[in-house]
């Protein structure tokens, strides 16, 4: 095998795959959040899973995926539930309710994380917040003959699997519950009257969101995951008026942001003559922002330029 190709497969392919799979999961869920006008809920959940992750980590003492998933999902559900409680019973405006809950959860997470760090537990706060795609690598077999075998699959990093599972879960969810999601997002009152449990759909969405966030925290970090949730969906919102196209476009935009972000971050500085590479997750967020900005200006019907031209509001 060629050494550059090997290097690509070993160093670049796994983080790229992990980022792409989490991008798919996030983009689809994010589309529904944006359409349901709950974008900030994505923000809130992604902050709130932190204490769940840390506590699960402290309890089990391992970085294995399953307990962390459970911990994060529990924390995510708790926060979604508490936001509902605060909003309904506290008579607090929804965004304020989110602000209260997610910042409290997040503070709890930071405090427990610092405590864990004080006890020399290997849990880097920066990794959770900004993601460390760079640490995902792979030692595949060095020649093509042995490359295509089952044992190769076993050596793929767990993060890639985790985000792939999240992506397939989300896709499956949307395919199976397409019409239920549609009606509960569009017209909750009719959804209720027809006997579909919109609360159940909402909670399932929150569980999946927590799963997607956890699957992504290793790759893009728990804060920058918001960029993947919201930006591609908002970009797609500006480009289309069909739900199916919307979902596909947001996935495409997310993947484009991921790959361009990865390439710019990993190779861009070298092309410019610097030795140091820059943070990949941050670059992915920036790229998704660039796409959104481009769409806001130049989208065919809803962009600023098109609106100016047709004089439409």
């Amino acid at each position: 095998m060629d050494s550059t190709i090997y290097q690509f497969i070993a160093l670049d392919l796994p983080p790229l795959l992990a980022a792409l799979f989490s991008a798919i999961a996030c983009a689809i869920l994010g589309s529904y959040l944006v359409l349901r006008r709950q974008s900030l809920l994505g923000d809130a959940i992604s902050h709130s899973v932190l204490p769940g992750i840390v506590v699960a980590f402290l309890v089990t003492g391992s970085r294995s995926t399953i307990p962390i998933f459970i911990g994060a999902a529990v924390a995510g559900i708790c926060s979604a539930f508490l936001i509902e409680v605060v909003r309904k019973f506290g008579n607090v405006d929804e965004s304020a309710a989110m602000g209260v809950i997610f910042s409290t959860f997040f503070a709890l997470g930071i405090l427990t994380m610092e405590q864990a760090a004080a006890r020399n537990v290997d849990l880097d706060p920066d990794c959770l917040l900004h993601g460390q795609l760079e640490t995902i690598f792979w030692y595949p077999p060095n020649d093509w003959a042995t490359f295509f075998s089952w044992s190769t699959l076993g050596s793929v990093p767990a993060e890639v699997y985790a985000s792939a599972i999240a992506a397939f879960l989300v896709i499956g969810f949307v395919v199976v519950l397409w019409k239920e999601l549609l009606i509960s997002s569009f017209d909750p009152a009719l959804c209720h009257a027809l006997g579909f449990r919109s609360d159940l759909i909402h909670h399932t969405l929150m569980v999946l969101l927590a799963c997607a966030v956890v699957a992504s925290f290793k790759t893009v970090g728990s804060i920058l995951v918001i960029a993947l949730l919201v930006c591609p969906a908002a970009t797609a919102r500006l480009c289309t008026d069909r739900l199916g196209v919307h979902l596909i476009l947001s996935v495409v935009f997310a993947c484009v942001a991921c790959s361009t972000g990865y390439i710019t971050a990993a190779f861009g500085p070298q092309w410019l003559g610097y030795e140091q590479s820059v943070n990949v997750a941050g670059m992915i967020a920036v790229m998704s922002g660039v796409l959104l900005g481009g769409a806001a200006c130049f989208a065919p019907r809803y962009g600023i330029v098109a609106r100016r031209r047709t004089g439409r509001r």
Binding site: F186, H192, A193, F196
Partner: protein
Amino acid sequence: MKLFSRTTPVSSLAGRPEHSPTSPLSVHAMTVAYHQRPVIWDVEYEAPAQALIAIVGPNGAGKSTFMKACLGIIPRATGLVEFWGKRFEEQRHRVGYVPQRESVDWDFPVSAIDVVCMGRYGMIGWFRRVSREHRSRAMECLEMVGLSDFAHRQINQLSGGQQQRVFLARALAQEASLYFMDEPFAGVDAATERSIVEILKQLKADGKTVIVVHHDLSTVADYFDNVVLLNTRIIAHGPVSSTFTNDNLRRTYGGRLTILEEVGESMASQR
């Protein structure tokens, strides 16, 4: 000990009629409260079958609340609501609902036909897809409201009246026997209003009951045959001719509307 037999009509509150199981909607002693304040207070009502019923009352009288509470969309503090003598959960498929037009996001990325298909969801049930028959039935409903050319148009490109007709088509697609419509005439042009009325009359002719929250007092007598005057409680209900009187209206609106006088006069001159 003398005890009455169940064969005589019974009710928890004497002097109130026991509702017949054939009535499409019977509401018994329903109270809906928000923070201790009753929005709907001890309402007793039985809707006649095969009728066009207008719910009329001042702003904040709880007209929409009444509908939503009947359908269980908002919780009732107490009360019994029965559809054909059974609970809503057992009769869901026979009840259609048209929410207020402003209650949904018309910028949502769906087409008119998709919205109409939603009316079929109750029949389709969880997980299953919308089959071709359901889709063609939805198309027929769109045709009935005269929008078949707009089937694949995005809903944000429809006018207010067209959006209202899409909602109506969705209700038709539910193929219910009893319809609740929350202000179907709000913000629609005269032509649309007429076509909606035509559809309502057609529904009645098909033996269905339609309950409509209505604002325009001047058209009540033209459009509806039955009226409910609601202001937190039901002030009066019955056929328009006997119920929609000046006296009842004044009791409903509490002298707040001087226009009532004129309406009453025009009613009297019509008769």
